[in-house]
């Protein structure tokens, strides 16, 4: 066990955990930010996607010891009032079914729009391919990302 300091959604946190503990479980078990989901634990499904140092990362595969001083943003901190254009577009298109994967989808899409403000269908598919939606809401996710991109431009 060791003490780690983290900056999550602009707040400082301190946790006492094993060095190999993935960021996912720090968020979920120790900081009570359960919006970030566990899906596979091996970086294959994207449900645990958060932003680390501004990039989309799979928090299930990032041990706390490797985080360093990079700031973490989770779905709870994406927008102060939960009104990021992607969150609003998700509601407009009524994207979720079970909803479990959607935080990861939104975080992945947010990173995409940060680097590419007007992605094509192919670019959306390529970037979002690592995020599984078991309910099959892919066509709505694509539409919502385009709506959000339009609003942000």
């Amino acid at each position: 066990m060791a003490i780690y300091k983290l900056n999550i959604n602009g707040k400082e946190h301190q946790v006492d955990v094993d060095a190999d503990t993935p960021l996912l479980w720090i968020l979920r078990d120790h900081v009570q930010l359960t919006g970030t989901k566990y899906g596979c634990g091996v970086g294959q499904c994207g449900a645990c996607t958060v932003h680390v140092g501004g990039y989309a990362m799979r928090s299930c595969s990032l041990p706390i010891s490797q985080l360093g001083d990079q700031a973490v943003v989770t779905i709870e901190g994406l927008a102060e009032n939960g009104d990021h254009p992607l969150q609003e577009a998700w509601l407009e298109h009524d994207v979720p079914q079970c909803g479990y994967c959607q935080a990861g989808q939104i975080m992945q899409a947010a990173a995409l729009l940060q680097s590419n403000s007007a992605p094509s269908d192919e670019e959306i598919a390529a970037t979002m391919n690592g995020n599984i939606c078991r309910c099959g809401t892919y066509t709505r996710i694509k539409a919502a990302i385009k709506t959000a991109a339009d609003k942000m431009n």
């Binding site: 066990m1 955990v17 094993d18 190999d20 503990t21 993935p22 479980w25 979920r28 078990d29 120790h30 009570q32 930010l33 359960t34 919006g35 970030t36 989901k37 566990y38 899906g39 596979c40 634990g41 091996v42 294959q44 499904c45 449900a47 989770t74 779905i75 709870e76 939960g82 969150q87 998700w90 509601l91 009524d94 979720p96 079914q97 079970c98 909803g99 479990y100 994967c101 959607q102 935080a103 939104i106 269908d121 959306i124 598919a125 390529a126 979002m128 391919n129 690592g130 995020n131 599984i132 939606c133 078991r134 309910c135 099959g136 809401t137 892919y138 066509t139 709505r140 996710i141 694509k142």
Partner: protein, 737 residues
């Protein structure tokens, strides 16, 4: 308006004050139990009432007119938490923006069927939900009549306001709610004429949408309590095995954060089981309990168990050989026989025979199995994702030696169900673990343990034969199915009823691999086989595939064979005609190859046309046109989402997914080995068309999945000139390019 007797289930309409466990209905709050630092995000437009008045078990009304409607059934992503309250709100006659929705507690005495399965929530809930709203509306009217000293017949309601036009006086529901709660429950109530619906038939957003996109805790896996421990269970690595001793028990117990390691048995001798328990082949498990998820996961990886082989360790090759073998046998009792099939086959001038098969599939809900349990000496508090809470509660009570009243199950929103959560083994596991460690426990499965636990869609094989006379008329039809733990054939489904000489047979084989209902059980394979075969039948007689099907349906409409056909041939033909028109079937866009399919299941009718394009020789699904007859559509926005999801799910599993076995062990353990459909493989566009016929609503969560598998296969056959007989299609040359 329809007058309807309320004797249907009057207990539901008795005032909540006389209900057992009424306090629990209001007593559960995520904000208290989860210590989340996110504020509740849904701020009602009217603000929070100072006082609530219970009108009946389905609804309560605040002094400011805000209405809380209880959603009775488990929510697995099929959106009943929005659509069921919409039905209540419609008959209550309130503005939807003044409604908040709460998940009802488990109480089947008042809420009747609280189960998510078979696409039946809306169909079976329809009448009761309407009556709940209409009964409450009547009681509000009766209260207003008393207060205004007028006859009830002189009053009208509109969006939560009661009007007495003659005297130009109005009262809001909030103003009479207190008095309404003391009114007699009416003996009969009027239901709206569907043409007057204002909420039903309009698109309404998911009531949990805000919480979902903000990551507010809602799922079983999000639960946290003071003093809660984390637990997982380790099942045998192979089917046919059971656990012996843990060889390194002391070592595991000494690991940081690990509290205990022990064996549990969820099916001890003499325990009365529910149907949802009986497919469990891993009742004996090793439980590991600790202080954090990660410490428990690490300990589970280090566990060294003396696994003992109890029965044969099966392989996929064995299943294939045995299914092939039994498919050559004749069923003792045919499922259905019309005319004289064998004589007709003798007479046939043209016969075709084809065999189709499909592998085991895992459910792979995105939220792995989990449950929270806090078992004390005289009470079991259980919270989590379960499609069959009533059955789980009964088994837990037996297992813990408690009365049913001592066991409370709270339903959480589920990160997917697809049938897996019909089988609540994890509820029993969590209960036993909590009892043993005498602490609140959250049981979780890792993805690997979830995927290898079983309860799979069984592997199937089916053989079709069709015989045609010299005029190319279909005169003989034979379907014979074989499957693990039972055959897949529905004897009385199409084309039964459309062919004079018809034979349906089912054969099953035993296996120690556990199987269970997987979204649209049996249909999820049969539609593929049947609709691919009918395409080949059409081709054999040189007919357009839609025309061929329509001619058979014409026969079933005009002169049906037998009187025990499951489907309504006119509605079946209706969706085919609709999709033909909407897709402009005869004129596909250039470079597009088309396939069609139509199927009836869960009381609904679906027909689909799939457009496939070849990209570097590989088929890519471009557009899907889908016609649906599920009667009245409650919430078109969510209904379309269900249809789209079923289509994507169906394409994905037909194309890419399988569980195979070697020495009893599932060869796929996580998403790097078990392939699910991804963004780039989804159709570009899905167009859904609902038949508007005013018939009472039927299933929607499952029916779009089965036929799409055949529509895709038929489109690929059109594109590549090669038929597909085996799932997953990705193993075929035609699909690999």
């Amino acid at each position: 308006m329809t007058l309807i007797k309320t004797s249907y289930n009057r207990r539901s309409f008795l005032k909540a004050s006389v209900l057992g466990g009424g306090g629990m209905m209001l007593g559960f709050s995520w904000l208290v139990s989860c210590e989340a630092d996110v504020a509740d995000v849904v701020e009602p437009t009217k603000g929070i009432p100072k006082e609530w008045f219970d009108i009946n078990a389905f609804l309560k009304i605040g002094d400011n007119g805000l209405v809380t409607i209880m959603s009775p059934n488990p929510e697995i992503g099929q959106n009943v938490k929005t659509s069921m309250p919409m039905i209540v709100a419609e008959e209550l006659d309130v503005d939807w923006k003044d409604v908040v929705v709460e998940q009802a507690p488990l109480n089947t005495d008042i809420y009747t069927r609280q189960l998510a399965g078979g696409s039946q929530s809306i169909r079976q809930g329809w009448q009761g939900l309407r009556m709940a709203g209409a009964t409450a509306r009547h009681m509000l009217l009766a209260a207003a009549a008393q207060q205004l000293e007028v006859r009830i017949e002189e009053l009208k309601t509109e969006n939560g306001v009661i009007k007495h036009e003659e005297s130009d006086r109005t009262l809001t529901y909030g103003e009479v709610a207190s008095l309404a709660g003391s009114m007699d429950v009416p003996e009969e109530v009027s239901l709206k004429d569907p043409k007057d619906f204002k909420i039903i038939g309009t698109g309404r957003n998911n009531v949990d949408g805000q919480k979902i996109v903000r990551g507010v805790p809602m799922y079983g896996l999000d639960i946290k309590r003071e003093g809660m421990l984390y637990a997982t269970v380790i099942h045998p690595p192979a089917f046919g095995m059971k656990p012996g001793n843990v060889k390194n028990e002391e070592e595991i117990k000494a690991l940081a954060g690990i509290k205990d390691v022990f064996m549990i048995n969820t099916m001890p001798e003499g325990i009365e089981l529910q149907w949802s328990d009986r497919n469990n082949v891993f009742p004996e498990l090793i439980a590991i309990v600790g202080e954090s998820t990660w410490q428990v996961i690490k300990a589970a990886k280090q566990l060294d168990v003396d696994w003992k082989a109890e029965s044969e360790l099966e392989s996929s090759e064995m299943h294939e050989a045995q299914l092939t073998n039994i498919l050559n046998q004749t069923a003792d009792e045919p499922g259905r026989i019309d005319g004289n099939p064998e004589a007709a086959f003798q007479q046939a001038t043209k016969t075709i025979e084809r065999t189709y098969d499909a592998p085991f599939l895992a459910h792979n809900t995105m939220e792995p199995m989990n449950f929270f349990a806090n078992v004390t000496a005289d009470h079991a508090e259980l919270i989590g994702p379960i499609q069959t809470p009533e059955f789980a509660e009964k088994t837990v009570a037996k297992l813990l030696g408690m009365d049913l009243e001592q066991v409370d199950i709270m339903m959480t929103r589920m990160g997917g169900g697809f049938g897996r959560r019909l089988y609540g083994n994890f509820v029993m596991e969590a209960s036993l673990i909590s009892q043993k460690v005498a602490a609140p426990v959250k049981l979780f499965y890792t993805r690997e343990s979830d995927m290898t636990q079983g309860t799979y869609r069984p592997a199937y094989k089916v053989k079709y034969r069709a015989g045609f006379d010299e005029n190319n008329q279909l005169i003989a039809f034979h379907v014979k199915g074989a499957g693990i733990h039972g055959g897949p054939v529905f004897a009385n489904r199409f084309p039964a009823g459309a062919v004079d000489n018809y034979l349906a047979e089912n054969l099953g084989m035993q296996s120690n691999i556990s199987t269970g209902a997987w979204r649209a059980p049996r249909s999820n394979f049969m539609a593929f086989a049947e609709q691919c075969f009918l395409d080949e039948c059409a081709a054999a007689v040189g007919q357009d595939p839609i025309e061929f099907r329509l001619q058979l349906l014409e026969r079933a409409i005009n002169k049906p064979v037998g009187d025990n056909n499951d489907y309504d041939a006119e509605r079946y033909a209706g969706v085919l005609k609709l999709v033909k028109e909407k897709s402009d079937w005869a004129n596909p866009p250039s470079g597009i190859h088309r396939g069609v399919s139509a199927y009836f299941c869960h009381n609904s009718y679906v027909a689909q046309v799939v457009d496939v394009e070849l990209v570097k020789g590989r088929p890519k699904v471009k557009d899907v046109h889908c016609a649906v007859d599920c009667g009245i559509v409650i919430n078109p926005l969510a209904a379309k989402n269900q249809i789209e999801g079923g289509i994507v799910d169906g394409i994905g599993h037909a194309m890419y997914s399988q569980i195979t076995f070697k020495e009893g062990k599932p060869e796929q353990q996580n998403f790097d080995e078990y392939r699910l459909i991804r963004h780039s493989e989804a159709p570009e566009n899905i167009y859904t068309y609902f038949v508007d016929n005013g018939i009472d609503p039927t299933g929607l969560g499952e029916p779009s999945l089965p036929p799409i598998m055949a529509a895709v296969a038929n489109a690929i056959a059109a594109a590549k000139g090669e038929r597909l007989y085996q799932q997953p299609f990705i193993s075929s040359e035609a699909v690999l390019g």
